[in-house]
Structures are given as C-alpha cells and as structure tokens.
C-alpha cells in the first residue's frame, strides 16, 4: 500500500469515531500543551533575566559575600566602607566603584505613602549602572562625605508622592527621617523582578545611620573595558579577601551571574516540563488502550484486508499510522493551544513567556514518538492476526 493511501485510510478511521478519537486525543493535547506552555514560561523567565542583567550596564563586576551558587543561602555581609576605598585604590580609579546597602522602607510626603527600595550608595551610580537623572542632580561625593540627608527619587515614587508638584527641594520622610530631594531619576526597565523605578538613593553614610548598620551589602565595579574584566576581577578578589580573611567573597561578572541564574531556571524548566511530560505519557497510554479496543473491534476488517491481499506490514502500518495520526493531531492542537496560552500569559499576567521554536519542534516530535511507541503493540497485534480467525470474529 502506498503511504499517502495509508495516511488517508488512517485519517478516515479516526473520523469514523469522532468522539472517541477526540477524547483520546485530549490526553495528548493536554500533555503537549503543558509542555509547550511551561517551556515557554521557563524561556521567558530566562530571557527576562538575561536582558535584566544586561540592562544593568556593561562590564560590571559584583563583589558579594558568601558563595553564590544554586541552593546557597544569602549570608550577612562583612563588607564595609573601607573596602570600597581599597577596591578603588587597587584598580586605580575610585570613580568606577559603586556601593550599596539596601532596605525596603516607606517613603512619606504629607499623607502620601509609598513603598520604596532605599539604596544607600555613593556618587558613582550614574557611571557604573548607566543611570541618568531627569531633573536635578545625583548625589555628590560631599553628600556622602558629610552624611547629608538628601535623596534622589526613582520615577515611580516621584510621581506617586508628588503627583502635581515639582519634588525638587521638597522633603520626603524615609523611616521617619526627613530627606531633601535633590534629583529624580530617568525611567528604566525591570531587573530580576526588581522594579528599579521604585528605588530611592541616599548617601551610603546616611543609609547606614538610618538602618543602624555599619556594613555594606555589595560593591559593584565597572571594569575599564571588556578586556580588563578578568584582570580586575583577580585584583579585587585579592584585595577583598586580604581584608576579610574570615569570610568568603565572590567577585562575579555579569556573565557568571547569568550562568548561575540560568542554571537555576534550567532546572526549574526541566522539572516543570517533566511533570507535563508525565501527562503526555498518560495520554499515550490512553492511545494504546483505544487502539487495542479498535483492533479487536475491527478484526473482521483486518480479516477482509488480509483476505484481499494485505500483507502483515500493510496492516501494521495502517494501525501504526492511525495511532500516530491520533497523537500528531493531538500534538498539533496541543501546540496551538500551548502557543495561544503562552501569548495570553505574556499579555495578561506578569509571568513572562516566550515561545521557542525548539520546544514546538520537540513537542511535535514527542507526539509522533508517543504514537509510535504506544501504537506498535496494538498494531502488531492487528498485523499478526490470522485471516481465518479474524474473519470469523464476531
């Protein structure tokens, strides 16, 4: 029998039992749909993380306490302001070193309240992280030096707290302490789910006083150029670990952070896809079940086909194609629903979702494979029927 003919026969057999075929397909549809959707969400998260980390700027090195890897818990930093000076001296350019000590606080202006991420930092943020002010000015070296109570607002708190006034020169209460507003930052994108437009920058010295700490959370260094990243990474590591022999530090490049986060996301995506894969497996068992029923129901048809000259392999191919047609139709519908679902999720929810071509190809391939795997046994059963026996079957 020709292949095209066999495909047509398989398709007609499925259409003859529309309800049964659709219900059987449903298992595969749900399985494939979940695989496509979950992989899309996983890839979406990954690309958001990537672009988020890249949007921080370029050639940035992060000095963080502890051992950043999959499964580690954050440790309390022992970095102090002295370390910022040491790092600046070591790389020969203190202007490329930014610092942060952060905390979530409520900012209040009159009766208006707004939840913000307060970042205690120095004057180098605009250079290191490519930030610009839309109004006023950023913190200066002397603001940090004399612990001046001044603040630069992110775009969101500026709009929320001063909906119809110019915030410059006004005061904002942060954690009960009044700060004079000297600048407003330009709007930027999200990074790792942190809305950078919700930040408020104050001098790091003032922040330490406000939070009641003498540590800093992290140091960020913008390398002189891409080619200097490795060398400066080594220099910084040496300086910091000499100063703090008692604690582990890591000096990470953006790429390394991407790698760590990427691995976490890969594992998550894999776990989610495996769970979805199990439902695909269950769908496959349903296909096998229905094919077995179909084979015994259609024994006479098999007998007739054999009586008029169908060979074993013709019958095998017919029933195998039928199973594959079931799973492939289910796969195509599942892919369509998965893609539609991913588009909806991306549009209507904060969860990112990006369809990747390989997940679609994979889902299609898997549905073909499921059809073959779960179709072979019933098809062999059909193909091996003795024509005399099959014809007698009532």
């Amino acid at each position: 029998m020709r292949l095209g003919e066999a495909v047509r026969v398989a398709w007609e057999a499925l259409r003859a039992n529309k309800l049964r075929s659709s219900l059987t397909m449903l298992g595969v549809v749900i399985g494939v749909m979940s695989v496509v959707l979950l992989v899309a969400i996983g890839s979406g998260a990954r690309s958001e993380v990537t672009s988020g980390i890249e949007s921080l700027g370029s050639n940035i090195l992060f000095v963080v306490p502890g051992n950043v890897s999959f499964g580690s818990t954050p440790s309390i930093s022992r970095l102090q302001l002295d370390d910022v000076r040491r790092v600046g001296d070591a790389i020969g350019d203190p202007r490329r070193v930014a610092v942060t000590v952060a905390s979530g606080e409520i900012a209040r202006v009159g009766a208006r309240r707004y939840s913000v991420n307060v970042n205690g930092t120095n004057e180098n943020i605009p250079l290191v992280f490519d930030r610009t002010v839309s109004r006023g000015a950023f913190l200066s070296a002397s603001d940090v030096e004399v612990r001046r109570r001044v603040a630069v607002l992110g775009a969101d708190p500026a709009e929320a707290l001063f909906p119809d006034r110019d915030p410059l020169g006004k005061t904002v209460a942060i954690g009960g302490v009044r700060f004079r507003i000297i600048g407003v930052l330009s709007r930027v994108g999200n990074t790792l789910g942190v809305d950078r437009n919700k930040e408020v920058f104050i001098p790091v010295t003032a922040a330490q006083r406000l939070f009641g700490v003498d540590r800093i959370d992290a140091v960020a260094v913008k390398a002189a150029s891409t080619g200097d990243i490795k060398a400066e990474q080594r220099t910084i590591r040496e300086v910091v670990s000499t100063a703090h022999p008692e604690q582990d530090f890591q000096v990470l490049t953006q790429e390394e952070i991407l790698g760590v986060v990427g691995r976490i996301l890969s594992v998550l995506t894999l776990v989610l896809a495996s769970i979805a894969g199990i439902s695909l497996l269950v769908g496959g068992v349903g296909v096998m079940n229905i094919m077995l029923v179909s084979v015994s129901e259609r024994s006479r048809e098999i007998g007739v086909r054999k009586a008029v000259g169908a060979r074993t392999r013709d019958v095998l191919r017919q029933f195998l194609l039928e199973a594959v047609a079931l799973t492939v139709s289910g796969g195509v519908v599942g892919i369509a629903l998965g893609v539609a679902g991913a588009v909806l999720v991306a549009r209507l929810s904060p969860v990112p979702a990006a369809i990747t071509w390989w997940s679609v190809v994979l889902a299609f391939g898997v549905s073909v494979a499921v059809g073959i795997f779960f179709g072979v046994w019933p098809a062999r059963k059909a193909a091996r029927m003795q024509p005399v026996v099959a014809l007698r079957y009532e």
Binding site: V308, R311, L391
Partner: protein, 265 residues
C-alpha cells in the same frame, strides 16, 4: 492438465488446537481445481469444508500435506508471498459479504487493488468497470448499509473479480439471501464463469446450488467422502438451471449437462 491447475492439494491435513485438544479439521484431502472448473463443496456443519475453502484461498496453511498455487508450494512461500496469492490468484466471496461498512461500494471493490499499489484514479476506473459487470453501475457511491443483501453480495463479487483472479471462492454465497436474490446471484456467477473462464469453488449446503456446478465434492469428518468427488461426464464448468431445493445432498449425481457447452478439457 498440471499447467492449468490453479490449486493442487494432496494429502492436506489441518489440525487445530482448541483448549489443548487437537481437532483434526482436515485429514488427507486430495483435490485439484483447474482453470475454468466449477466445483461445489458440500458436507454437514463441522465437516471441515470451510477449513478446506480457507486453505484453497490461501487464508491458512495446512498442518501437513502439500498445497500448491499454480505449481508453487505454499510451504515454500513467505507470508507476503501468500498474501500476493490471495491478492492475485484468488477472489473470495463470503456468506456475510464482509464489506467494509464505512466505505462506498466502489471503495470496497477497489480494496484489493490498494494492496497492489494501483493508483487512485485507476482503481476507481477498474472498480466502476467491475461494478458495472455485476449490474451495480448505479450504486457506486452507496455504502453497504444502503444496499440490499443481494446488492451487497454482488459488490463482494465485484471485489473478488476486480483483480481478475484465476479462481473465485464462495462460502455459502446465497446463505444470507432470499431465494430470488440468491437465484440472481447464481446466474451472475454462472455468467462470470462462462465469460471469464474463472474457476468457481462454492461451499454450500444447498443442493440446488451444488447441482449447478460441474463437480461436487462432499466432505465428511475432514475427509472427502468416498466417491464424494463427482466428475461430470461431459464438459465441466457450465452451470445448469437451478435444481429442486430440499433434495438430499447428491453423492454420485451427475446432473444433466443441459447446455452442453464445452469450456474446458
């Protein structure tokens, strides 16, 4: 003679195993069907006549003994080769018609050609031709359920003939038909036999049907009954008119050769 033999059975035995019990369905049967023969196989229920027909049609293999189609022994054939015999040498007509229920008359008739790799258009053309030759040119698109029993059986005959086989095997072809449709069907078989020189082998309970055949063999307990094979004196192969129904199975009867036309030697 040997060259024109469609199927040759010698010492053919078929043993089934049913729940561990051996059942000897056929026991040493010798039979030759030649091109242009018309042969009736008679016998009581369970005598083994359907088993014999299944073997003659290549649906099954003998347990022992030799069975050869056009000189080629089945024992030396692969399953695929036996399938080719069913496709090219033999045409089957069943008591219960055995048409594919969801397929049109033309589709059913074209089915054997599917397994020959004949293209769709050519299949359609040959199926239409075959259906016209059985008088169903106006029922091409009808499904089996939309046809009467007699029409369904004629579709089955068209399906058996579309491959131009050397031998037509019919298992109680009139068993599920009323007497008038049965009569029409027998006329059709007779005409096809005459026109195409196709060998016709009919398993039947009906002596009236058997009488129309050139030869009658009677199977009892898996053996051809002694003297059971009755050769016609004169030319074989021409059906006579329907005999009287209800007569006991003819044992040594050689009904008159009313037309006397010689079709084979």
């Amino acid at each position: 003679m040997g060259a024109s033999a469609v199927v040759t059975a010698s010492g053919v035995t078929k043993v089934y195993r049913l729940d561990g019990v051996e059942v000897r369905a056929l026991d040493g049967v010798d039979l030759v069907v030649e091109r242009g023969d018309s042969l009736a196989i008679m016998g009581p229920s369970g005598s083994g006549k359907s088993t014999l027909l299944g073997l003659l049609g290549g649906l099954d293999r003998p347990t022992s003994g030799s069975l050869a189609f056009q000189g080629r022994n089945v024992a030396a054939m692969s399953d695929d080769e036996l399938a080719r015999v069913r496709n090219q040498v033999v045409g089957f007509v069943f008591q219960s018609f055995q048409l594919l229920p969801r397929t049109s008359a033309a589709g059913n008739v074209g089915l054997p050609l599917v397994y020959r790799g004949v293209g769709r258009a050519e299949r359609r053309r040959l199926a239409v031709q075959a259906l016209e030759s059985v008088g169903l040119g106006h029922r091409l698109g009808h499904r089996p359920t939309q046809l009467s029993g007699g029409e369904q059986q004629r579709v089955a005959i068209a399906r058996a003939l579309v491959t131009e086989p050397a031998m037509l095997l019919a298992d109680e072809p009139t068993g599920n038909l009323d007497s008038r449709s049965g009569e029409e069907l027998l006329e059709l078989l007779a005409r096809l036999h005459d026109e195409r020189r196709v060998a016709v082998v009919v398993v039947t309970h009906d002596p009236g049907v058997a009488e129309r055949c050139g030869r009658i063999v009677v199977v009892r307990d898996g053996r051809l009954a002694p003297g059971g094979e009755v050769a016609r004196s004169a030319a074989t192969g021409r059906y006579g008119p329907l005999g009287t129904l209800g007569r006991p199975p003819p044992r040594t009867v050689a009904p008159d050769e009313r037309d006397g036309q010689e079709t084979s030697g």
